[in-house]
Symmetry: C2
Subunit: 152 residues, 2 copies
């Protein structure tokens, strides 16, 4: 049984509360040139990144721009032979994925697997900001690549 299963929380009886989505953590945009994208966003919207970070495991450098209760993440590939590099080659710049904050990444991934969702990560891995993440295939999300981010 999943943690929290059987309790009657806001999602109703029997639903594991630790699987609930807490927030739209960020929406990610694939860009070819991170400096240029940050400059453009700053010129048009006067918002600047909280931080920039290289995430070697994902082959990206990312910049996280706060937008009220959520964030815009700009994602640039570290090279052409990376997931974001291949995305740019196929699609050009544009929306890449959305990330939902969850309280318990293992519980969330287990729940999704039990419901038949197609997981890219069956176990959590380390993402940006030292947070544990897991990706869900677009085939289980109406064409949208979904990242779950554990907020502790």
């Amino acid at each position: 049984m999943l943690p929290g299963a059987g309790s009657a929380g806001p999602a109703g009886p029997g639903y594991p509360e630790r699987v609930l989505l807490l927030n739209l953590d960020h929406v990610a945009v694939a860009v070819a040139d991170l400096d240029a994208a940050i400059d453009r966003f700053g010129t048009l919207y006067r918002s600047a990144p909280l931080y920039r970070e290289v995430v070697e495991d994902q082959g990206v450098e990312e910049a996280m721009i706060p937008l009220g209760g959520s964030h815009l993440q700009l994602l640039a590939p570290l090279g052409p032979d990376t997931p974001v590099g291949r995305f740019l080659e196929r699609h050009g710049e544009g929306l890449h994925h959305v990330a939902y904050a969850v309280p318990d990444i293992e519980a969330a991934l287990a729940h999704l697997a039990a419901e038949g969702a197609e997981l890219i990560d069956r176990e959590p891995r380390m993402g940006g900001g030292g947070r544990r993440v897991g990706f869900v295939h677009p085939r289980s999300g109406n064409g949208v690549l979904v990242e779950l981010v554990e907020i502790t």
Copy 2:
């Protein structure tokens, strides 16, 4: 001069504060079948729409799902010969646009035009929820269609 221009706010001297982005209001996903998409999201994530609404002017029916401080918007076309219908024909289901909340839609559109952004709407129009909105072309947003939503 734009409203607020010349004041020294959080964005620095000379920046019109009424243009600032207040929040990532929503991220929108184009779907072929709104009922099926709502059902799937409910099964996987146990989140349900706050409301559903037909926006005839945009040729869509939309469902707004709250996610913490932001929203996921599911967008289904009212017919094939609509912007979202053509999007589905070309791209299939997937991420369609992001929406930023602004305090003054006229000031925001005027600022973007002055900075050389390519606007789809030079004047605000009515969007979902009775809010005034304006769209910015993906060519001015690293491939991302941007909607500005006035929050009053």
